[in-house]
Structures are given as C-alpha cells and as structure tokens.
Amino acid sequence: MFLSETYRKIAADGIWNNNIVFGQNLALCPLLAVTGTATNGLGMGLATLVVIIASNGLISVTRHLIPSEIRIPIFVLLIAALVTLVDILMNAWAHELYKVLGLFIALIVTNCALLGRAEAFASKQPVKHALWDGLMMGLGFLIVLVALGAAREITSSGTLFANASVLLGESFKFLEITVISDYKGFLLMALPPGGFIMTAFLIVGKRLIDQKIAQRKASVTVLTPVIVEEES
C-alpha cells in the first residue's frame, strides 16, 4: 500500500466509519436543505469539500498560536472569513458556477461539521494529516449528499441528475437520466420530511453493512486457530 497506516485510517474514518452524516450525525441542516436532487447534492458537496480542506489546513497551520480558551471564536472567525472569501471570489471569477452554487456557499457557515473537524482533528494534528482529513471528510460528505439526493430525486420525480449540465457544463449532459418514465411523482420525498425519512433509511443501510462486516470478522477469528492446528 502506498498510503501509510495513519492516512489509511483517516481515509476510512472520513468516508465510512466516522462519516460526517452517518457517524457523527452532523451537518443535517445543509444535508436536508439541498438534497432534493442529486445535482444540488453534488454542488453542495463540492463547495463544502473545498472549504473544509482550506479550513482544516488553516487551523492546523495556526494551531500552536491558538489558546484553548478562545479557540471556538477563532475557529468560527476563520471559517466564516474563508466562506465569505470563497463566496466573493466565485461571484467575481466563476460567475456562471456561482449562480448555481451561490446559495449553497453561504449555507456552509451553518455546517457544524467544519467546526467539529477543526476542534476534534485539525487543531491537534500536523498540517498534512489535517489536509488529508479535510479531503476525506469532505469526500464522505459529498458521497452522502449525492446518494441521498439521488435516492430522493428518483423517488420524488423519477429522474437522476436532472439539470447536471447547468452545474457542470454541457459535457456532463450524459448524467441526466430518466429512471422511471411516466412517473407521477411522489412529492413527500422532495420536501424536508422526505429528507429525514431517506436519511434514516441510508443510516439503517450503513448499520446493516457494518453488522455484516463485524459478523464476518467474528467468523474469521473462529476459523483461524483451526488452520494453525492443521499446519502444526
């Protein structure tokens, strides 16, 4: 493996074990607000990914300067300044993208997962680890947003990645799929309660998979001594 043990553990934590939504149950506000469609989920996920990497890096660089008594106001200040910077710069230099993503960027400030990572990880770890953690946590969040958005979009309107070409450019038109044609629509899933319901289903799914993995591991440990005996 080209990644050392530490990096692999951070990656596994960020994407699966300690996933922002499934593991920590954080960031539910932006999660439920934007996952009406897979495209919106993707947009929010990308914006959050950029900001969480930057905020993790920035906080890790300055971690020795920050006294623990005033760390929370400094984290909030840094994250808010960062989000505003991204917001202004994107509005000026990537205006087309901003018109689609603009709404989500301001929402990132309400994402407590950023503060959570700053507090729990970036303020105690070297910069390289903090950046990697930001990338992995961001990716984990992005995957959940897209999965939840896709699940809600399919059940509510029978399409997948509708309007993806507006967000990503014409070359991504192939993503737009009508999964169920002539679908009458199921409004509940497009509304916030649908977000809660679908999140619950996804969390149950994750728990079931975890259980299966744990069972398999248990059965493997039972088998091992048998093999050892045969060899000796």
Partner: protein, 236 residues
C-alpha cells in the same frame, strides 16, 4: 534612490535578527508558555480578526467592479430574453425610468423600467417585478411589453417553489410561461387573467395551483402598472 553597500549589509543583518526572533517566538514550546497569558489571548484574537477583516476588505474592494459587471451582464441577458433584439438599438441599462409601484403589490415601492428604443423611438419597455405571495416565498420575474401593451415575454428570474411541481414556471422546465406572449389587457378580459381552475385562461400544474395562480396575478398587476404609466413611458 541608491543605497550604499554598508547600509544594505546593515539592513540584511537586522532582517536576520528579526527572522531569528520570529522563528524562536513561533517555536511550539515558546507558544505553549505564552498561550495561558491573558494579553497573549487578547492579542491573538485581535490579530486573527484584523487579518480576516483586511483580507475580506481587500478582496471585496478588488472584486467589486468585476461583480457589478457580471451582474450587469446577467441583467442584460434577461432583458434580451424578453425584448427581441430587432426592437432596440440602444443600451437599455442606461435608458431607465423609475416609476412608483407601491399600490400594485409587485414587491417594491419603486420600479426601474428599462426602455428599449429603435432609432430614438420607444419600442418596448421592460421591468422586473415580484409575486410576493408565491407558495413558498417571492417569485421574481421580468417582463417585456411593447409600446401598445402587448406582452413580449415573461421570464422567472428566481423562486423558491417546490421542485418538480411549482418550478414549471421556469422556461427551462416547461413552456407555460411562453403562453403570455402576445397577451395584453385589451385582448384578454380581466376575468380571464387567472388559472383555469379559477375560470381563467392559463393552465395550472398538476399538484401546484398556487404557484401559477400567483404568477398570473402578478403579471396582471405588472401590466396594470404599465398601463397606468403608458403615456409617460412611451413618450419620454
């Protein structure tokens, strides 16, 4: 100004001293001693706030013009959508008139009207207006009207209506909004400016009646605003 080698050498030494001091000061062990001190904490918080505000201030100032240009381009694009290019040869962003619109309930007390002129004569007008009472918030629209009061085009600029149901007012999702083109207060009776469920001319959507109903009503009010100021607008 020319500096002699001795001065440069002295400056270099000074910088080296400062760098050494900063390096020692930034050592984790030194900072660990400083961190519990109240004056250090105050200073750090102030420092972070200062850096953040300077950064934001500089970025804001340096991008203000660009953002304004982008917004102008956006506005121009939406103006072009509702006023056919054949109807004007002026810069509509510069040719504006502000009229009071408080009594028409279209979102603002004053409405900026962009005037389209062809060889100096007013051919059409265009303005933004709002249906403040959409199903889940305001629906912002823009409308072009020719000098006789016929609708040239209406577009929704932004809204918060239910995705999949109410968002059919967008031209990207359905051609519903195009049905207004060519209508006017003269060729459609006031009672017909409503959705079909209310005995009017325009379709409602399956599962969403409020969104199209309120949009039709706002467009109707917008036309009334134009009619009330028609003389003033087309004879500037």
């Amino acid at each position: 100004m020319k500096l002699d080698p001795a001065t440069i050498e002295r400056l270099k030494q000074k910088i080296a001293v400062y760098r050494e001091f900063l390096k020692n000061w930034l050592e984790p062990s030194n900072l660990a001693q400083l961190r519990p001190k109240l004056e250090f904490q105050t200073g750090v918080l102030a420092g972070f706030a200062l850096i953040a505000s300077v950064l934001l201030g500089v970025t804001n100032c340096s991008t203000e013009g660009t953002i304004q240009r982008r917004l102008d381009e956006d506005l121009k694009k939406s103006l072009e959508e509702v006023v056919p290019a054949a109807l004007y040869d002026n810069d509509m962003l510069q040719d504006t008139l502000t009229i009071p619109s408080a009594e028409y309930n279209i979102g603002t007390d004053e409405t900026t009207v962009y005037i389209a002129k062809k060889s100096g004569n007013v051919s059409a007008v265009c303005f933004k207006f709002t249906a403040p009472d959409g199903y889940s918030g305001a629906i912002n629209m823009i409308m072009g009207i020719d000098r006789d009061g016929n609708v040239l085009g209406v577009r929704v600029l932004s809204h918060k209506e239910t995705p999949g149901l109410g968002d059919k007012i967008e031209v990207a999702k359905s051609d519903w909004i195009l049905k207004f083109t060519g209508r006017s207060l003269d060729n459609l009776a006031p009672a017909k400016w409503a959705v079909k469920k209310d005995g009017g001319e325009f379709d409602q959507f399956a599962g969403a009646t409020i969104t199209p109903r309120k949009s039709v009503q706002a467009i109707y009010r917008g036309l009334q605003l134009f009619k009330a100021h028609q003389e003033q607008l087309i004879n500037p």
